[in-house]
């Protein structure tokens, strides 16, 4: 919250929204973020009612607490924005969406990589048929973990592993680029999985799936995630015309290698794209604020677009290596 959301909220504070309160079990942290965002209230997580003068809540706790907090705010008729991954299971997300529907409120998920220009352009290229028939997808992201977490969550919580952390970002990139988030009838099967350690939280995971969608037909997808060492960082999509590479880190354009050519495919000049990861986070909060104000506004961050991602994460997370 402190690193990513607070600076963006401070930036947008004068225009589209303002922050009323910051709540954390760590009171010092709550006060720091409240100060950074000019919030008037800081304290431990508190009860909320329909009469409280707020429109929406941002939930940036560890994932297993998302559902509990989201439920509290949705029940009080507030819109909710949750950090990725939305929840720890597809079933939890379905329950939240059902509650949001009943309350006439919406849930948004903080997958800001969907707003990277490279990702947006790649999605456009695939939908234009640039690659021809889809053959294979590889999503890989790994690095040597070298920072100090605030808690031992990453090694102690079953949801603190690489699948929900890095995996949710990376697999979502692939799902979004292929526009599978819009397809209702995507079927998939997990064909293999390897994890280190073998039980969650895993720190290294390799999985292979077969997917089938009405738009793309059947294809193979491979996922490799690691905190134990570097891996290629990005999504590769092979089609009959060539291979498209989209870096996992912020990039202005994907690289398309086709028929002996290397093409850097940039925006077609339809409006300003975010210029950095930071700008993508700001854009995400702008999207969220705009969608709160206009209930009919469609946004790529809407929770309904994350069902397939959550089902894939469920399968990989629950799988025990042979």
């Amino acid at each position: 919250m402190q690193r990513l959301h607070a600076p963006a909220l401070r930036l947008l504070g004068d225009s589209s929204s303002s922050v009323r309160g910051c709540f954390d079990v760590d009171l010092e942290n709550a006060r720091t973020v409240a100060e950074a965002t000019s919030a008037t209230v800081a304290g431990p997580p508190a009860a909320v009612g329909p009469g409280d003068p707020v429109d929406a809540a941002i939930i940036a706790t560890p994932p297993e607490a998302h559902a509990e907090h989201a439920q509290r705010y949705l029940s009080a008729a507030k819109h909710v924005f949750v950090e990725k991954p939305a929840t720890i299971s597809a079933a939890e997300l379905d329950q939240l969406r059902e509650l949001a529907g009943r309350m006439g409120r919406r849930i948004f998920v903080g997958h800001f990589r969907r707003l990277f220009p490279s990702v947006q352009i790649a999605r456009r290229l695939v939908s234009l048929g640039a690659l021809g028939r889809l053959v294979r997808v590889e999503a890989t992201e790994g690095f040597r973990w070298d920072w100090e977490p605030r808690s031992n969550y990453v090694v102690e919580s079953p949801y603190g592993g690489v699948v929900h952390d890095t995996g949710s970002h990376l697999i979502d990139m692939a799902v979004f680029i292929l526009a599978l988030d819009e397809e209702p009838d995507v079927r998939f099967e997990l064909t293999s999985v390897e994890k280190t350690p073998a039980s969650e939280p895993s720190q290294h995971c390799e999985a292979e799936l077969t997917l089938e969608s009405p738009r793309h037909g059947a294809f193979v997808a491979r996922v490799m995630l690691s905190r134990m060492g570097p891996l290629a960082m990005g999504v590769k999509i092979w089609g009959e015309n060539g291979v498209l590479f989209i870096p996992a880190r912020f990039a202005a354009a994907p690289v398309l290698r086709t028929a002996g050519h290397r093409l850097l495919v940039s925006e077609g000049g339809q409006g300003a794209a975010p210029a950095s990861m930071w700008h993508s986070v700001v854009r995400m909060h702008e999207e969220f604020a705009a969608a709160v104000q206009d209930p009919h506004r469609d946004t790529v961050l809407d929770a309904r677009r994350f069902s397939l991602l959550m089902r894939i994460l469920d399968e990989i997370w629950a799988a025990t290596p042979a």
């Binding site: 234009l128 100090e148 891996l231 590479f245 398309l256 290397r262 850097l264 077609g268």
Partner: protein
């Protein structure tokens, strides 16, 4: 008799491999880490074979043969930087004294001579220079360590490593491979520098050798060791097996070198170079004619494909990396006899290529 090594910075990339070499050579290893979560992720392979302690517990160890340090201060506010550096080195030396270790081996880097080897790389004391936190951290550590160990009468080896290459080496293998995937430059045109490289397993092997060397030989050699057994190989030779393993078509992208400041001629060349920046890309009209999707996309103004016919302009964040890839100066090895490297350049290239292919960098569609 089992020899015991206390290893600071055990979660470091080189540290992990050195632990493996020491365990294989029959050493008992005590890893020191401030961060148990990090250690349990990165040292899983050795979980049952080493004892893991924090810096306070490390001082309670006894009968150690050696203390080996890979740790350094990476990030800190400037007001904490020097203090943290001092306390880290003090912890290393205090542990050596408390555990009655016979020697301290400290890993440093060729960067103490400047990233571009601005100072002649002699195996000797390096003067303090300010300006870069990493270089400052490494020089300060050398100075304080040697002062403290000399006072305590502890034989000391400061091993300055060249650019470490090997399977999964973050800076000099994974980073260039990622650059090739992203189509970012991996060097300047016509300025292919010396790699000044050392291979991971050779580093681990040399450190194990120094830990085992007779005390008299160690003292006679002097405190400064330089390890860069592959130094004379140019970066292009290192990158070639990587690019081959990635199955990329054509050569990795190289950037136009910045004009050297000085004469009016070079200044003019700089202006001309900037003036032609717009010509770095050529719109892929040829491709547009061949692929229906490109024509449709361009017509609708939805995407703009550019063919990479010339190097991309250099981004400021690339400059440091590219300068290191252009260093013409050699960082010669200065190592104790009779040590010789276990892994030669060709073998190193093969092992790196195997790793690149297995870590998701290959652009070739797997069979089936």
């Amino acid at each position: 008799v089992t020899r015991k090594a206390i290893v600071f910075g055990a979660t470091n990339y080189v540290g992990g491999w050195t632990i493996r070499a020491l365990l294989d050579a029959g050493w008992e290893v005590v890893g020191v880490s401030r961060n148990p979560a990090l250690a349990s992720i990165l040292l899983q392979e050795y979980e049952d074979r080493i004892e893991l302690v924090d810096p306070v517990e490390a001082k309670r160890q006894d009968d150690a043969s050696a203390v080996l340090n890979f740790a350094y201060v990476k990030e800190a506010d400037m007001e904490d930087f020097y203090r943290l550096n001092r306390s880290l080195i003090d912890a290393v030396v205090d542990t050596a004294v408390a555990s009655r270790a016979e020697r301290v081996v400290h890993t440093s880097t060729l960067a103490v001579f400047g990233y571009e080897l601005n100072v002649t790389p002699r195996p000797a004391y390096v003067r303090w220079r300010s300006g870069d936190p990493y270089v400052e951290s490494k020089i300060l550590a050398e100075h304080r360590l040697l002062r403290r160990t000399t006072r305590s009468g502890l034989p000391t080896a400061i091993v300055r490593l060249g650019n470490v290459i090997g399977p999964g080496a973050p800076s000099w293998v994974a980073e260039p491979a990622q650059r090739i995937l992203d189509d970012r430059p991996v060097g300047y045109q016509d300025r292919d520098g010396l790699s000044n490289a050392t291979y991971l397993e050779n580093v681990a092997d040399y450190l194990a050798f120094v830990l085992d060397a007779p005390r008299e030989s160690l003292e006679a050699f002097g405190p400064y060791h330089h390890l860069a057994e592959l130094a004379s190989h140019r970066w292009a030779e290192v990158l070639e097996p990587i690019a081959r393993a990635m199955k990329v078509e054509g050569r990795p992208t190289r950037a136009t070198p910045p004009a050297r400041a000085g004469s009016p001629v070079t200044a003019l060349r700089g202006r001309v170079s900037r003036g032609r920046a717009g010509g770095y890309f050529r719109a892929a009209f040829g491709v547009a004619g061949r692929f229906e999707w490109v024509r449709r996309a361009v017509d609708r103004g939805r995407v703009r494909p550019w063919e990479l016919t010339r190097p991309l302009p250099v981004r400021p964040e690339d400059e440091g990396f590219l300068r290191i890839m252009s260093v013409p100066r050699r960082f010669p090895s200065h190592v104790m006899a009779p040590w010789t490297p276990k892994v030669d350049f060709e073998d190193a290239g093969r092992r790196i290529a195997d790793w690149v292919a297995s870590a998701g960098y290959s652009l070739r569609l797997p069979p089936g």
